[in-house]
């Protein structure tokens, strides 16, 4: 099928394009991009060379950008299909403007063997609405004892390795993972948490945990592991990626490490720059997430980290849960936020606040994650997959989790007035229309 997307504002940082123009898609690949910057525009319309008999999408008033790439998604399949499936999770992704997601291995069974990796890859090709790259486990069964077969998993399709959900508590194993993974040039993604310090904690430790009477997780629980992994990264020269940075202290550690030339990248998630622990007053379990949302100071530090490049990317840490896992005592409720369908709008708030410009936001949500994962995504180059999000950045809406395509309706942003509606997503050779 051939598609022509016309009249949108094309922003493609990889090819240094930002201007009105048209994109022609042939057989699921980008054929041609014609940017019509007003000052250089010659012919009226500018699509004279395009063939007829094609489906036309009018993107007037919208930005047309490379599909978003999420480095940190929980699709829950296999094993927890009641929370999410590859089908529903990728549909939620496409709805949120994502055309690529990288799914974490804490499924049941854990993605530590090629059987599981192949299952995910095949299922995603068959039922998925976007491209899925699995992330393999660092250790067998995420048990922190022996390395998983990183070579075999890489060959089966894994693009990174992580024991996400849990930290690699054994420093020697983490050292070996960072060393061994160098053979394959794959990132090792670290869930930074000192489980002795965080034990029993359900929210940020601080004044708000004191007045709610809930057990806190101190910032040090994250920062100690960030510091350890940076030291191991320096020691080994492996590729370290720090997941879900939530504290100002972590941002500082990473900033210093980068200044020293350590081979590290880092991500944060929309909730860490949009929410503080004060929002937990009232005990809404939809705000329970690990690491926990922190304080205003941390939010400011995370934003500064995004602005100055210390934090390379924004990932969702999309962690869908069934309502039964959230309709519980706060202590007993599951950790996690359903994030795919609100991420870009929350990112746009950073643009509104002057933290990032639109191009930088697209870099952090598409271009750079693709670079870190070494996958051919995040660019509108001729010949590449037609992975495109068409977004009206000015259109306002109110978040209604009951309408999410994800099975997980666990959003702390319910009722928030946001801007930026994903109008259409082009993914896997199909056009998804959302409005």
């Amino acid at each position: 099928m051939n598609i022509l997307i016309k009249n949108g504002r094309i922003i493609d940082p990889s090819n240094n394009i930002d201007g009105k123009g048209d994109i022609l898609i042939e057989d699921g690949k980008i054929k041609e991009v014609r940017s019509r910057k007003p000052e250089v525009r010659k012919s009226k319309g500018g699509m004279g060379g395009f063939v007829s008999g094609i489906q036309t999408i009018d993107a007037t008033g919208c930005i047309v950008i490379p599909g978003l790439v999420d480095m940190h998604t929980h699709l829950r399949e296999p094993g927890y299909e009641y929370k999410e499936t590859i089908r529903t999770g990728t549909r939620a992704a496409a709805r949120g403007g994502f055309t690529t997601v990288c799914c974490m291995p804490n499924t049941n069974p854990v993605n530590d063997t090629i059987t599981v990796t192949e299952f995910i890859v095949e299922k995603a090709l068959k039922e998925g609405s976007c491209t899925v790259y699995p992330i393999g486990a660092i250790t067998k069964g995420q048990k922190n004892e022996e390395l998983a077969e990183i070579e075999a998993l890489k060959r089966a399709g894994c693009t990174a390795f992580s024991d996400d959900g849990k930290p690699v508590t054994n420093s020697l194993i983490m050292r070996r993972a960072l060393e061994y993974s160098k053979i394959f040039d794959v990132p090792v993604i670290s869930h930074c948490e000192d489980i002795y310090l965080s034990e029993g904690g359900v929210m940020n430790e601080g004044f708000v945990s004191t007045i709610l009477g809930l057990k806190g997780i101190p910032k040090a629980a994250e920062e100690i592991m960030v510091a350890r992994d940076l030291a191991l990264c320096r020691l080994t020269g492996g590729r370290l990626h720090i997941a879900h940075v939530s504290t100002g202290g972590s941002v500082e550690l990473i900033r210093e490490a980068k200044a020293c030339g350590i081979n590290v990248t880092a991500e944060t998630c929309p909730h860490y720059f949009s929410l503080t622990d004060e929002s937990l007053i009232g005990y809404d379990t939809n705000l329970k997430v690990n690491p926990p949302v922190r304080t205003e100071k941390d939010v400011a530090a995370v934003k500064q980290g995004l602005k100055d490049g210390t934090i390379d990317i924004i990932a969702t840490d999309h962690a869908p849960h069934h309502m039964d896992d959230k309709t519980k005592e706060f202590d007993a409720a599951a950790f996690g936020i359903s994030g795919l369908e609100t991420a870009f709008s929350l990112g746009l708030q950073l643009v509104g606040q002057g933290v990032l410009d639109l191009k930088q936001l697209i870099m952090k949500m598409s271009v750079v994650p693709a670079e870190i994962m070494r996958v051919p995504k995040g660019a509108l180059s001729p010949g590449s997959d037609a992975d495109i999000a068409i977004i009206n950045p000015d259109k306002a809406y109110v978040v209604d989790p009951s309408g999410f395509l994800s099975k997980g309706k666990n959003s702390p942003f319910k009722g928030w007035a946001l801007k930026g509606t994903v109008e259409k997503t082009v993914s896997m050779g199909r056009i998804y229309e959302w409005t």
Binding site: G206, S209, L212, G213, L214, D331
Partner: protein, 306 residues
Amino acid sequence: MLNSKDLLGIKELSPEEIYQILDTASGFRDVLKRDIKKVPPLRGKTVVNLFFEPSTRTRTSFELAAKRLSADVVNFSVATSSVTKGETLKDTALTIKALGADFVVIRHSSAGVPHFLSRVLDLSIINAGDGSNEHPTQALLDLFTVLSHKKKIKGLTVAIIGDIVHSRVARSCIYAFTKLGAHVRVICPPTLTPPEITNLGTTVFHNMEKGLANADVIMTLRLQLERQSKGFLPSLEEYFYLYGLTAERMKVAKEDAIVMHPGPMNRGVEIESEVADGPQSVILEQVTNGLAVRMAVLYLLAGVRK
């Protein structure tokens, strides 16, 4: 008139509401001195005691308070309930509603459970202790007891000693005494100090003698014996040496200082018998006052729901 159908915590109450409860309790305190102690206001109402944690004194106190007001009382305790069969909290709550209860008195080891129930149920929820969050009726009975001795709260120095970080009694008392103008000190080891507690207007002491100096009210808390194994304390002996309330230490407080304890006590761990049974102790009065305060709470909440 109270502003809410529920009593979730002292945090949510205004000083006026607190005084209204205390005034009402004072009337019921007189009723309890009569020969016939039963009055009719809650006739035909049902109070469910929903206790997910073991409790004797609080549950008994609520039960008796409800009976004195002529309500029917049902005790729903975790050991005998379907919770042990895997029922969720929400289903338990809805079951109680379907049974036609008017009040749920809830105790649970997780903070926020009464708030959860108040969202699920339209009947009156009374918090009888939720995790480390609040135990509002305990703080109200403490206020009542102090008032009966000191005639005022404003300007008093109240010292609370012990495991502050895990204590819902400490939190409720800090809110209660602070709201009515007292100055609250907490005396505890750094390992049992809640983060940023000074933001509540309290002063933190790690030394007993300094913390007790010139105190009007001394409240010592039960030390959960498992704190030692969790690494908060090296030993109970060391705790008693540093923070045990002894007659010797009492000397630095005001001469007419009163000693309180929410019970149950560990004699020789947080308090020595000479003090617990001494002339300054008002510990048993607290128990009697608890009954009057809980009657007042039930009575006033019934008024809100009318």
